[in-house]
Symmetry: C2
Subunit: 150 residues, 2 copies
């Protein structure tokens, strides 16, 4: 299958829509989708407040949902699109999933996995950063500004 050069941006937009859903719920606005063979097989957005669960990051839900969809727990032929650089927990989960590719938008200088140790991610996982970085960063900034002012 030919990969369109716009693909990453297209799917990041879908992840961004998930981040917007989180924003509307008062959750830190991070969204993710998992793509297999050019199709979205899982979506997730941060639900740590609603579920009262620190593990309910967008990526964690998308990984679990993608495995359910595929009927197998390894995602080596899949790509995860996520609006924010994965944290240590999510990178560790992506490691176990052996995911083929991870594309993220905004960098997370504080708790992103690259600061902790880039080898948190599986050595076979291709990592692409900075797709729609400005939009993905802006929605975070807007969220925290609102929270400070409320």
């Amino acid at each position: 299958m030919e990969i369109n050069v716009l693909s990453d941006e297209h799917f990041m937009k879908m992840a961004y829509l998930e981040a917007e859903l989180a924003f509307e719920k008062g959750e830190v606005p991070v969204g993710a989708v998992v793509v297999s063979r050019g199709k979205i097989i899982a979506r997730g957005h941060n639900l740590t407040e609603q579920l009262n669960d620190v593990t309910a990051h967008a990526e964690m839900q998308a990984i679990t949902s993608a495995a359910n969809n595929l009927g197998g727990k390894y995602l080596n032929k899949c790509t995860l699109y996520v609006t924010l650089e994965p944290c240590g927990m999510c990178a560790g989960a992506l490691y176990w999933s052996q995911i083929g590719k991870v594309v993220f938008g905004a960098s997370d200088e504080k708790r992103g996995f690259r600061k902790i140790n880039p080898s948190l991610m599986h050595p076979k996982t291709e990592v692409v950063s900075g797709t729609m970085a400005d939009e993905c960063s802006n929605i975070m900034q807007r969220f925290f500004q609102l929270r400070r002012n409320s």
Copy 2:
């Protein structure tokens, strides 16, 4: 409340019983319990095969279950006992939970969080290693020996 010097060993035995449950199910035998005010408020054992989900480590389930039990997502007054050194994913989750103390049994030289970066765990989390290390290590060895021979 006085903390009995045998407490850590006592609760690690409870975590070990969880590891045995995992073993019986053909799961990598890791077990965990979360203790709050001297009482077990959550138990978990590895279910990655049964749930077809790489995120279903003992610790992840115990964290989610403890937060449900407490009605709050922070575990700063709790202790997690787990038979094996937490991996990057689980240490990352424990970071977000701000858990007060983590006691683990066997070390994991390959994928334990200390090799990746000890700061995966929250700076306020007290970490104790080596409680019932031999038993916790032996059950893992027995499991992988059986798997190799089957």
